[in-house]
Symmetry: C3
Subunit: 143 residues, 3 copies
């Protein structure tokens, strides 16, 4: 297919209670894709900030706990991270976790919807150690 | 360059023997880029499902074994993951590995080809614990 | 918004001193977005090669050291990796680190700039064990 390109961006805002809280953004992203009028293209879901991350996961309560457990094991919060010397803010591990999981995820859009599996949700996870007001930018592009 | 945008999507289907098997998708992706007629743009390679992942790697047999070893060390299969209580399906580690490596990879397209190094291949890795029929959506967009 | 699509790609070249050196690419990426004339769309920053990676981070000296420490802990350089048998080049860990962090990052572009937080920079990290001449392809697409 070819034609004029459409670009449609929306900012999703929410507040978080702090460390290792996560939320399912799939319905929000699907709504924004619908708002765009785009049927074939891509959607980029991207965190503004360096201590939160997005990805895909089967969003159920067991895995929500497991990903928290895993992150604490791989990148312990109790370790002395050098970042903490720079700012004295004790969230070095938050930054490292966010960088490892990644700030953005790109998903194809087809027939007016993000192409995902039934058990595959787009999620945001808070890695910072305090409550935050978060902004996630959702950019849809296509025809 | 500017002009009409083209969007071209193809579904790549294959079956896998199960856990930690991987396959090189580069030629398939190059063929789909060629089919699209797009010379400048991007290609998004995205797994449908939450227990497989894609990325780039030098696809040779040593690293295929190494990535399996690494995943078992970072996210052990023998651990009790809470996901397993939810469904009783023993693949909590599969989900976590897939989320960590990521469901999609986006590569620039230039001169009609994905922009990759000589030793850099696009690969899929199966993290589920049983044979699966897999679908990877390849979306090419550009001019 | 809709119209003709623009695609603008530039290659960023630099040399690195070797393992675990990192650099902030944000200004370079912002300049390329500006050169493109694109105000709404996306930018893909993608490493050509399999032993370097890109992502976003708060680019300050503490975290630069922390990410090096973390990578050495998660994927030790002293381990026997099977890749090293294939080529005898002792950089199996470099490949695994690059695959885990990922070869590319996609960021929305809005109002002519990549959508990033104040403390969120786009960075490249060298994982190879020797000095390298690196090429990072930056593809901007939109209107």
């Amino acid at each position: 297919m070819e034609g004029k390109v459409k670009v449609h961006g929306e900012l999703v805002s929410f507040s978080t209670p702090g460390e290792l809280w996560s939320t399912d953004l799939t319905h929000e992203v699907e709504k924004i894709v619908k708002n765009s009028g785009i049927t074939e293209g891509i959607v980029v879901v991207s965190v503004i900030g360096s201590t939160g991350a997005v990805g895909t996961i089967e969003f159920e309560s067991g895995l929500q706990k497991d990903i928290a457990t895993l992150m604490e094991e791989l990148i312990p919060s109790k370790r002395h991270w050098r970042h903490n010397d720079t700012w004295g803010d004790a969230n070095g591990h938050s930054h490292l976790r966010a960088t490892l999981l990644g700030p953005s995820v790109t998903i194809p859009v087809s027939k007016g919807k993000p192409v995902l599996g039934t058990w595959q949700q787009i999620f945001f996870i808070e890695f910072d150690i305090r409550p935050r007001n978060r902004k996630v930018f959702v950019q849809v592009m296509g025809i």
